[in-house]
Every structure is written in structure tokens, then in C-alpha cells.
């Protein structure tokens, strides 16, 4: 058999069609760079690794399916069955052919790994990760090619027609990738695993864990199907059913193995540990508020271990001091990540029963236990498990994770969160958490390293007035930003240390903080605590502000973003732009239901211009901001579709959207910034505009509520009309 395999492999490697399939697989990634990117996120790893690999994987699956069908139908096509059957068993030959094609797909992956390596290393530079790169080729691409071959073989065994089989594989692939039924479900993705984006700085562990699990499911399913389909190989001139029954009699161990594999795959699918079971119509689910008004938390002490970077499990114990003001027994509810289990509960030292309420909702599930009528109660819990993520959009938000490069545990994933009131703002909260070595945690409280164990480093995080907190840990470097009169801590990945130092970015960011604080007002956050700005993983899909933490996405730090001239003239100025978003975008949101160009980008761009004017003078600001804005707006105004909207109407909707977003981009940044500059001239200059913006920042708008500022809010504050500022 080994000799036959070597012979078959050698024959395949001498066939031009094998090389054609390999070439298609290896050329398609080139189109993924810019011509046909499948993902819209803009981290460097998404652009230079995820997009090319995605396209190569999808194309390669079909190419290897076609190759398999061509090779399997050769004997049939040339009516040589009689000859080959006399030399070697059909079954053995078929299995060897498929194995040889799998070997060829592995060789293709190795070739691609070597060919694209230097370019990827060059482009990704400081964010290149050999592990992620290798996994992309050998966990994403290679199994897809192999599965393409196996799927084609299964179809060919059943239909005995290459054309019908290829059509079946193509339809199966498309059905799993397109449409609402299966496309959002990561377990249906047998070819290209669910690939929402890739992180540059914080690893992609969860993405690859889910990918590996999905590969295991499909290995079982395809293995089972392959064995089952082998029974359909035509024998003694019999047709499908006859051959199958005959095969069943002779190859019953094969059938048994097939059933075992299929059942195994099904069980793995059903009991997947990564996604929660939030109902699909989660928006219509009425949330029950279990918070008790008669139970008050007087202290929280958590000990958690988040150092298991292999599986990402978390375990820990929690001790809550709870006052029961009702004088009656009460039910105390906890909200916890649905991947966790409460192993034991003790109330006042006595074992108690923990009840699992069993309904998942947005990566949370309620548990409860009974509290006695005593006023002072001590509740001790032991819990643990693998944190699950929200299943919406196929669990695209790969943010709750414990990995070697990143730990992200939200309030429900650190420990069970008691649904009770906090007694006072001084109620102590203490968390002792073991994290993988080399990580620095950031949370709402104050973190301090206390010891080092063989599992990692133990950190003590203290805070007051809360029943839960979030912990983000990575190779964070802290920069203290001064200038706003408030302590601001900026945490970013160690990978960007040199880059930010060479850009002198901290000075630019401090200038941005000082400028915005002085001109618009201090950034609102929890008083008495430092304001923390974090660079976080792309899988959060947008920044957020919560308490004294504000997150900015890692794509702000990519080389391409730092070279975006619409945001700033240099990398440091782009980062200042991103910091100004803390005021415009996260402090107050700029949006307008009628004007798609009125977003936080315009005012942030204008503020960046004003800051640079203050720092470097009018000439610099005119050359690097006003003139490029005017040129961009002029160019946009001259756009063919702006001048001839009748042609835009003729386009199919998807093309129209592309063109409108191109025009929209210019108008959101340069167009709106220029409009605000015109308004500045009309209201009497810079100081008058600063006063208006400061009022809008502090008080917010009126049209959509104080959290939002619409274009009308802005114009009303300026006492101007759309016509006056040229916004018609």
C-alpha cells in the first residue's frame, strides 16, 4: 500500500492539473490583498493575512474538489475499469487517490507558507506572529483543500458523475457561506472558518480555537460520510442501492466506523463549548431584573485563576458579605458567564443548593441560592469553566478570552455577579487574579502585582462601590498623559512602544488632551480615579467608554491608519485625532438621522486642525489641513456621479453603496471639517466656535437627547442655517 501511495503521489505531482489546482490556490490570495478583500476591517493582519488566506481557501477548496473529481473519474472516463480492477482493488485505489490529493493539498499549503512568508513578514513587520501565520496556512487553508477533495470524492462515489458532483460541492460551499440560514453559524463553515477579522496585537486564539473545533467536527463528519459513501462504489454492474447493500454486507466495519464518526461529529457540534445559547430572537426576549432591593452587598472578595492559556478555562472562589434587610428568607441571584458552573455554595458556612436557571442571554445566565433571614450573611461560591461568547452573528465578538497574549474578562466572566444593591460607595471590592506571566492587567480599580507562582503572576485589584469589574490584560505599556489637569493613563501594546516613541506620539496625545480639556471641558469619568485609555482588540468592533475606562481599537495604531492624511498630517497627529475622539465620539456622539455626513469624524478632524494650528502655526495648518480638505472636497464635487446623479440611479444597489461610501468618506472627514471651519468664520472666529463646542460637549444636544449632537443642534447653537454653511 505504501508503495502504491508513493506511486500515486508521484503520478499526481507530474500531472499539470495538480499544479494548476495548486497555482489557483496560491494565486488567489494575491487578489485578496486589494482587488477582492472579503473582510472590511482594517488591522494589518486582516489586510495582509486574513483577506488573502480567505480567498485562497475558498478558491482552493473548489480547485481541489475539481482535481479530485478529475482524478477519480479518469478510469471511468477512459473505460479502463477492467484493467485497473484486475491490478488493484477499486476501493484501495480510490482511498489512495484521495489520500494522495490530501498530500498534494498539504504540499500546496507548505508552498504557500514559504512563498507568502517574506512578503507577509515585511508588511506586518512588528505585528507579525509566526503562530498566527502558520495557523492560517495549516489550520485554515490546508484542511479546506482536503475537505474539498473529500467532499468531491463523497459526491463522486454516490453520483458517479464528475459534473454533478462538482455542482453539488459548489452548492454546498455556497449554501454554507451565503444567506442567512448557515452563513452566520461558525459550525457550518466547513471550508473557510468563521473569519470576522484578525487582531494585530492581542492574538487570535479564540478564532483559531473555534476554527480547530470546527475542523474536528468536519473531520468526523466527512470521515463518516467518506466511509459511508465508499459502500456506494459500484460493484458487479449493480446500481447505487444494490452496490450499497452489497458493500454493507462486506464492509460492515466500515459502516460501523462511519456511524461512530457521524455520531461523534454530531455530538461535538451539539455540545460545542464556545458559544452561548442566546435565542435567535433575543431582541424580543423580555429581560427580568433580579436585583433585590432588600439585599445589600457589604464586601466582595474574589480569587480567580485565569492562567490556563491552553483551553482558556477560568476557576475561582468568591466570598460576598450580604445584608438581608427583609427579615425573611430571600433568593439571591447571580449572573454569570454561561460557560461556567457553580461547583459549591456555602451560606454562613453551611452548604446550600445552587439553582441553574438555564436560560442564556447575551453571554450571561442566572443562578440563585437561598439566603436565610439573618441580617448578616456570608456567601461563598466555588465556580469555573470556559467563558462562552455571545452567539449573535456567529460569535463574531471574540473578545471574552483567556489566552497567552490577551485576557479579556468582563463583569460576568470574572466571577458570579450578585444581583443586589451595593451598600455604599465605599463598599470594598477585592480581586486576586492569577494571570499569565508578562501581562499587565487594566481594570476600573487599582492593580498591583503581589506574587509570582508557577502558573503566572498574581495581581491584586482593589476598588470600592462595585459588585463586579472587568479585567483586560495584555503586554500593556502605560504612558501617563498630562495636560488636562486630570491623571490619564494610556495603555497600549508593547509592540507599539518604539513606533509611538519615534512618532513622539505621547507628546501629541498630551497636547490633544490639554487642548480638548481647555477648549471643551474635562472628559467626564468617575471622579477620584485615573482616566484610563486602552488600546483593545479589534474583536470589540468599535470603541467604548465605561466608567473610568475608554477603549480605542487597535486599528488606530496600524501603519495604514497612521498614514491616513484625512485624519492628520503625520502618525502622531492621527493618534491625536484618535484621542480627540474621547471627546467627540465617546464623550458625546455626533449623529444625524437626515445627514449621513454629520458624524464624529468631522468635528474630530476640525479639532485636530485647530490643535495643530495652535502647536505649529497657521501656515502649517493651512498646508496640511485646510488645503488638502479643499482639494478633497473639490475632487469629490467633481466626481462623475455627483455631477450626473442620473447614472448613479442606474447602478445596481451594491455598486451604488460602494460609490456613495467613497463620496461619504470625503464628506464625513474633510467636508464636515470644512463646514465647521466656515461656521467658525461666520460666528466670529475661533473663540466663539470654541465656546459653542464647549457648550455642546457639556450639555449635549436637544434633538436626540443630551448624549447626541445632531447637525441641527450644532447649527442652532451657532445660529446658522444649512445654506449659510453650504450644507445643502
Amino acid at each position: 500500500m505504501r508503495r502504491l501511495f508513493r506511486l500515486e503521489l508521484r503520478r499526481l505531482l507530474q500531472s499539470p492539473l495538480t499544479w494548476l489546482a495548486a497555482a489557483v490556490t496560491l494565486v488567489l490570495p494575491l487578489a485578496g490583498y486589494s482587488l477582492f478583500p472579503l473582510l472590511s476591517w482594517t488591522t494589518m493582519t486582516t489586510i495582509y493575512l486574513a483577506n488573502p488566506i480567505s480567498l485562497g481557501t475558498l478558491g482552493g477548496t473548489l480547485a481541489f474538489a475539481a482535481l479530485t473529481l478529475y482524478e477519480l473519474s479518469r478510469v471511468r472516463r477512459f473505460r479502463m475499469e477492467a484493467l485497473t480492477d484486475s491490478a488493484v482493488s477499486t476501493l484501495a485505489l480510490t482511498v489512495l487517490r484521495v489520500l494522495s490529493i490530501i498530500a498534494c493539498s498539504l504540499l500546496t499549503a507548505v508552498l504557500g507558507f514559504a512563498l507568502y512568508g517574506p512578503y507577509t513578514v515585511w508588511k506586518l513587520d512588528l505585528v507579525f506572529s509566526l503562530g498566527d501565520y502558520a495557523l492560517c496556512w495549516f489550520l485554515v487553508l490546508f484542511p479546506a483543500l482536503a475537505f474539498g477533495g473529500i467532499a468531491a470524492a463523497v459526491c463522486d462515489f454516490i453520483f458517479q458523475r464528475a459534473d454533478v458532483s462538482f455542482l453539488a460541492v459548489t452548492v454546498f460551499l455556497l449554501a454554507c457561506k451565503v444567506g442567512n440560514l448557515w452563513a452566520e453559524n461558525p459550525w457550518w463553515q466547513w471550508s473557510l472558518i468563521k473569519f470576522p477579522a484578525m487582531s494585530d496585537d492581542f492574538g487570535n486564539t479564540l478564532l483559531f480555537r473555534i476554527g480547530a473545533y470546527s475542523r474536528l467536527i468536519w473531520l468526523c463528519l466527512f470521515g463518516g460520510l467518506f466511509l459511508l459513501a465508499m459502500l456506494c462504489l459500484r460493484r458487479y454492474g449493480k446500481r447505487l442501492c444494490g452496490s450499497f447493500l452489497l458493500g454493507l454486507r462486506r464492509l460492515w466495519p466500515c459502516a460501523l466506523a462511519a456511524v461512530c464518526l457521524l455520531c461523534g461529529g454530531g455530538l461535538l457540534w451539539r455540545n460545542q463549548p464556545f458559544l452561548d445559547h442566546t435565542p435567535a430572537d433575543w431582541m424580543s426576549v423580555e429581560e427580568v431584573d433580579y436585583t433585590s432591593e432588600v439585599l445589600h452587598i457589604t464586601s466582595t472578595v474574589i480569587t480567580a485563576d485565569a492562567s490556563d492559556t491552553l483551553l482558556g478555562n477560568v476557576s475561582g472562589s468568591a466570598v460576598y458579605q450580604i445584608e438581608n434587610w427583609s427579615g425573611e428568607t430571600q433568593r439571591l441571584y447571580f449572573e454569570m458567564n454561561p460557560g461556567y458552573t457553580i461547583y459549591s455554595v456555602k451560606v454562613n458556612g453551611q452548604p446550600a443548593e445552587a439553582m441553574d436557571h438555564g436560560k442564556d442571554y447575551i453571554a450571561g445566565r442566572y443562578w440563585s441560592c437561598e439566603l436565610p433571614a439573618d441580617r448578616e450573611n456570608t456567601v461563598e461560591l466555588a465556580y469555573g469553566g470556559m467563558p462562552q461568547i455571545w452567539n449573535v452573528n456567529g460569535g463574531a465578538f471574540y473578545d471574552t478570552v483567556v489566552s497567552r497574549r490577551y485576557v479579556d474578562l468582563n463583569t460576568k466572566s470574572i466571577a458570579p455577579k450578585p444581583q443586589a444593591e451595593i451598600l455604599s460607595e465605599d463598599t470594598p471590592y477585592s480581586l486576586e487574579i492569577t494571570l499569565p506571566a508578562g501581562m499587565t492587567p487594566v481594570s476600573e480599580g487599582t492593580a498591583e502585582a503581589v506574587s509570582t507562582t508557577d502558573r503566572g503572576r498574581v495581581w491584586s485589584i482593589q476598588d470600592t462601590g462595585r459588585s463586579a469589574l472587568s479585567v483586560y490584560a495584555a503586554d500593556f505599556v502605560k504612558a501617563d498623559l498630562e495636560g488636562g489637569g486630570i491623571p490619564i493613563e494610556f495603555y497600549f501594546s508593547e509592540k507599539h512602544r518604539e513606533q509611538l516613541e519615534s512618532l513622539n506620539a505621547v507628546s501629541s496625545m498630551e497636547a490633544a488632551v490639554a487642548y480638548c480639556t481647555e477648549h471643551y471641558g474635562p472628559r467626564t469619568f468617575e471622579q477620584g480615579k485615573p482616566f484610563k485609555i486602552l488600546q483593545l482588540t479589534e474583536f470589540q468592533f468599535g470603541g467604548f467608554a465605561s466608567g473610568n475606562i475608554s477603549a480605542t481599537m487597535e486599528e488606530s495604531f496600524t501603519v495604514e491608519n497612521l498614514q491616513d492624511k484625512e485624519k492628520g498630517a503625520s502618525g502622531a497627529e492621527v493618534l491625536a485625532h484618535e484621542i480627540i475622539h474621547q471627546w467627540w465620539g465617546l464623550g458625546v456622539m455626533l449623529t444625524d438621522l437626515e445627514d449621513p455626513y454629520w458624524t464624529s469624524e468631522g468635528l474630530t478632524t476640525y479639532s485636530t486642525y485647530r490643535l495643530m494650528e495652535e502647536r505649529y502655526g497657521e501656515d502649517y495648518a493651512r498646508t496640511h489641513y485646510l488645503e488638502p480638505w479643499e482639494a478633497a472636497v473639490e475632487d469629490s464635487r467633481n466626481n462623475f456621479y455627483v455631477r450626473h446623479p442620473e447614472y448613479l440611479d442606474r447602478l445596481p444597489e451594491r455598486y451604488r453603496g460602494d460609490i456613495q461610501s467613497t463620496i461619504q468618506g470625503v464628506n464625513q472627514y474633510s467636508g464636515t471639517a470644512l463646514m465647521i471651519k466656515r461656521a467658525e468664520d461666520l460666528v466670529g472666529g475661533r473663540e466663539a466656535m470654541d465656546e459653542i463646542l464647549s457648550r455642546l460637549y457639556r450639555e449635549g444636544g436637544t434633538e436626540l437627547g443630551p448624549a447626541y449632537v445632531t447637525l441641527n443642534d450644532f447649527l442652532n447653537a451657532c445660529g446658522l442655517t444649512k445654506e449659510a454653511v453650504g450644507r445643502v
Binding site: L20, N638, F640
Partner: protein, 235 residues
């Protein structure tokens, strides 16, 4: 007899999987270029303006030229029975011309298919049919480059067939490099920037002398080796 040889060579060139594969790649690439870039209009002109069409042809040019050089490998491979062909009673010069003609015809077919895709797209999406105005930019881009590659490929192929693959890589590389507008192989810079310097919206198609000379240069550079080699073979 030469007509027969031409038909035979052409059929050998076109009636195989390589040509079909190249054609499919060209059409797929053309389609992605049309919907990804050309649809937006080049230099603020219409997607169906001569400028946009010229830019589209320039984008397809590397694939067309790579195809042309690949066709030439058919006549320089080790399987070529040169001894038999040389022993046959045909004039080597004319035989070479017939083969070059077949390569040119294959390349022409690729170019026509690429152009037809764009014209079909213009007709189907915009209902625009003024195709005559697109001939000039199409010819300006394609003819000099195709002649250049034919001459270069023919010359390299006579030295060593493997050099043709190096030429394919070279053409693909040169197409991506930023070059001065006059010697830009694909004329991408010219189509992308020149209309904006003319000071009017939707300017008529004009070509400055520097660009014209550049294209003449490419044509001559490709034509000389062909003439030279043909004459030598004839002697």
C-alpha cells in the same frame, strides 16, 4: 500552405486548457477591475469615458502580455520538433512569421474578449453604446505593449525558453512599479492624472507628445528584434 500552417498553429494555441484558463483569469480579473475601480470613474470622468477605458485596458495589460509570452513558450519548449520543422520545405522566415501571427492572433483574441467585457458592462449597466470613441485609448495602450512583448519574447525565446518565464515576471513587476508617465508600461499614471490637468470636466481624449513618443518607443523596441530575427532566419 502557410495559411494551413497558420490555422494549425492557431488551433494548437487556442484549443487547449491553458488558453481557456488564461481567458477565464483575464475575464475574472477584468470583471473585478470593472466593478472595483473603473465603475467609480477615473480622474472624475465617466466610467465609460476614453480615460476610464484606457485605464481599464492598462490594468488588463499585464495579464494580456503574460498570456502572449506564455503563448510564445509553445514554440520554444523542449517538445518542439525543431529538427523536423527545419527539415520541412518551408521558408524559416515565413514559418516564423506564421507562428508570430498565431501568437498575435491569440493575444488579439484575449484583448478583444477583455474589451468586449467592458463594452458589455457599459451597455448593460449604463445603456451607453458610443464604443467608437474607445478605440483610440484601447489601441494606444495595447498595440505598443503587445508588439514590445512579442519582440522581446521572440528574442528571449530563441536564446532560452526559460527566459520567457522571467520576462512574464518582469512584465508583471514593471506594471506595478511607479514609472514616469512617458515610459509607463500600462499608462496608469497618464490616465489617472492627465485629465485633471486639462482644466475641464469630462475632457476629450488627447495624448501629449511625450506619451506618444513613449508608445512609439515601445513599438520600435519590440519591432526591431522581430524584423532582425526574421531577416536572419530568411537568409
Amino acid at each position: 500552405m502557410y495559411k494551413k500552417i497558420f490555422r494549425y498553429e492557431l488551433r494548437r494555441l487556442l484549443w487547449n486548457r491553458v488558453f481557456l484558463g488564461l481567458l477565464l483569469i483575464l475575464l475574472a480579473y477584468g470583471w473585478l477591475t470593472l466593478i472595483g475601480e473603473i465603475l467609480l470613474g477615473v480622474a472624475n470622468t465617466a466610467p465609460f469615458s476614453p480615460w476610464s477605458f484606457g485605464s481599464y485596458c492598462g490594468k488588463l495589460l499585464p495579464v494580456i502580455c503574460a498570456g502572449e509570452l506564455f503563448f510564445l513558450t509553445f514554440f520554444t519548449g523542449t517538445r518542439e520538433c525543431r529538427v523536423l520543422a527545419d527539415a520541412s520545405p518551408v521558408d524559416p522566415g515565413r514559418y516564423a512569421a506564421v507562428r508570430l501571427g498565431a501568437v498575435l492572433a491569440g493575444t488579439l483574441l484575449l484583448s478583444v474578449c477583455g474589451a468586449a467585457l467592458a463594452l458589455g458592462f457599459y451597455g448593460a449597466v449604463f445603456g451607453w453604446m458610443g464604443f467608437a470613441s474607445l478605440a483610440a485609448p484601447g489601441l494606444l495602450v495595447l498595440v505598443p505593449a503587445v508588439v514590445f512583448c512579442l519582440g522581446l519574447g521572440w528574442m528571449l525565446g530563441r536564446i532560452n525558453g526559460a527566459l520567457l518565464y522571467a520576462a512574464i515576471a518582469g512584465i508583471l513587476l514593471v506594471s506595478q512599479l511607479p514609472m514616469p508617465a512617458a515610459v509607463d508600461f500600462t499608462l496608469g499614471t497618464f490616465f489617472g492624472t492627465f485629465p485633471k490637468t486639462l482644466g475641464t470636466m469630462d475632457p476629450a481624449f488627447t495624448v501629449p507628445p511625450s506619451i506618444l513618443w513613449g508608445r512609439v518607443g515601445y513599438t520600435v523596441a519590440g519591432g526591431i528584434p522581430i524584423l532582425f530575427l526574421w531577416r536572419r532566419r530568411t537568409k
